[in-house]
């Protein structure tokens, strides 16, 4: 059998299209609160899980809030791991709440079950929820996230609807779906239609929108790609779908990504890849985002430029 050619490195593909990936104005402050998680999803680019101990300290949270006071971000985006499992998470949410008009809290849904007070805080402070739900059937969700996760997710989505999230008002509930294997995601509009048919039509669960994203060939997903013999073909698949038109709108251009220990990155995926931002090293040192600064890239970036992109 003929071997597939090695994909061109991402930076060479950018250059071949006459493109550069550089920082624009900083609109979003993304805060990764740690790698501890109640789940160990097989596609997790950060390899988060119950055995991980890396979580954001209160001191780092204070530095994050201080940054949000220095730089007027349009939105803050709190993620993990499972941010629900970080002891001082409510402190961070209360500190950040008055500092940005847009507020996103990412949840795997199950971690919220053990933290009902947090749902009240998120509702009171008008945080939008971004919840992971790869599919609308038990088997695919189980294959990616573990047994029992689908029924738990459905239970929590109903509770969130009852708390006013996803019901068309200011408490937004967005869903995120990643493919459950080494293949590309469906078109977002048709996937949303399908999710609405299955979730709203059959289970009376409401949500505001669905985002579909390709899996990052990093961390636990990369390990699975390699052990299952899918890595090269998956990377080729991403490269073949390189869309130069999405480069200008990539999220890494307008995001400041803070790791659990306060280190700065251009995006959450570069955290997993160990590629720090080329500017200030730590959240305490950042005075302003240098527009025009080059963004660190790797071949995982192909996942953000495939098809309609990851913006």
């Amino acid at each position: 059998m003929a071997m597939s050619p090695q994909p061109a490195p991402f930076h060479k593909t950018l250059a071949a299209h006459g493109l550069q990936l550089r920082k624009g104005a900083a609109h979003t402050l993304q805060v990764n609160t740690g790698l501890r998680c109640n789940l160990a999803c097989r596609h997790c680019h950060l390899e988060a899980g119950p055995a991980r101990t890396e979580i954001m300290s209160r001191q780092t949270m204070e530095a994050v809030a201080s940054l949000a006071r220095r730089i007027p971000f349009q939105s803050v985006d709190v993620t993990g791991g499972a941010p629900e499992m970080v002891p001082d998470i409510e402190f961070l949410l209360w500190e950040l709440s008055p500092l940005a008009p847009g507020r996103l809290f990412r949840t795997n849904l199950l971690a919220l079950e053990d933290n009902p007070g947090l749902i009240d805080t998120l509702a009171e402070r008008s945080w939008s929820l971004v919840a992971s739900l790869p599919a609308v059937n038990e088997s695919q969700v189980a294959s990616q996230r573990g047994g029992g996760v689908f029924s738990g997710s459905i239970r929590m989505l109903s509770r969130l609807n009852a708390a006013g999230f996803g019901m068309g008002g200011p408490r937004k509930l967005h869903l995120v779906s990643n493919p459950t294997g080494a293949f590309m995601p469906p078109a977002q509009a048709s996937a949303e239609k399908f999710f609405r048919r299955e979730l709203t039509g059959r289970r009376a669960i409401n949500f505001d929108s669905l985002f579909v994203f390709a899996n990052m060939p990093l961390g636990r997903f990369r390990s699975w790609l390699e052990s299952s013999g899918n890595y090269q073909e998956y990377l080729n698949c991403l490269r073949e779908r390189f869309n130069p038109d999405v480069v200008a709108g990539l999220m890494c251009r307008d995001i400041v990504s803070v790791g659990w220990d306060g280190r700065l990155y251009d995006c959450d995926f570069n955290q997993a890849a160990g590629l720090p931002s080329q500017g200030a090293a730590h959240v305490s040192d950042l005075a302003a985002v240098s527009e025009g600064m080059e963004i660190a890239t790797g071949d995982h970036c192909y996942a953000c430029t495939a098809g309609s992109g990851f913006t």
Partner: protein
């Protein structure tokens, strides 16, 4: 030739246009239009294609439409049911011809 079927051959499907470009253009234009979203969704059309691929036993099509079904958001339960649908039709098509067999046999028999 080592094998009649090679997984790499599917990527060379467009080679069929080399000596009959106009026919190939018409076919691939038609093919693209057929699979675009219409009264049926792209996901539903891929499930039909997957089922038919099994009926015509085309390994290229099974490869392509297994991946397409997953990429359009289908799951293994739906895909397996689709194969059973086409299997039922194939089996049923054989069985229903038994009626013809019985008619002929009854006419010939005392």
């Amino acid at each position: 030739m080592a094998d009649y079927y090679d997984t790499q051959d599917l990527a060379n499907f467009a080679d069929m246009g080399k000596d009959a470009p106009e026919l190939a253009r018409k076919f691939f234009d038609y093919y693209g239009s057929v699979f675009a979203e219409g009264a049926l969704t792209e996901r539903e059309k891929s499930l039909i294609a997957l089922a038919v691929a099994h009926a015509v036993q085309c390994p290229y099509c099974i490869d392509a439409y297994t991946r397409a079904c997953l990429e359009k958001g289908s799951n293994l339960e739906e895909m397996t049911e689709a194969v059973h649908v086409v299997t039922a039709i194939r089996g049923g098509a054989s069985l229903v011809h038994g009626v013809q067999m019985r008619k002929i046999a009854e006419k010939l028999s005392m």
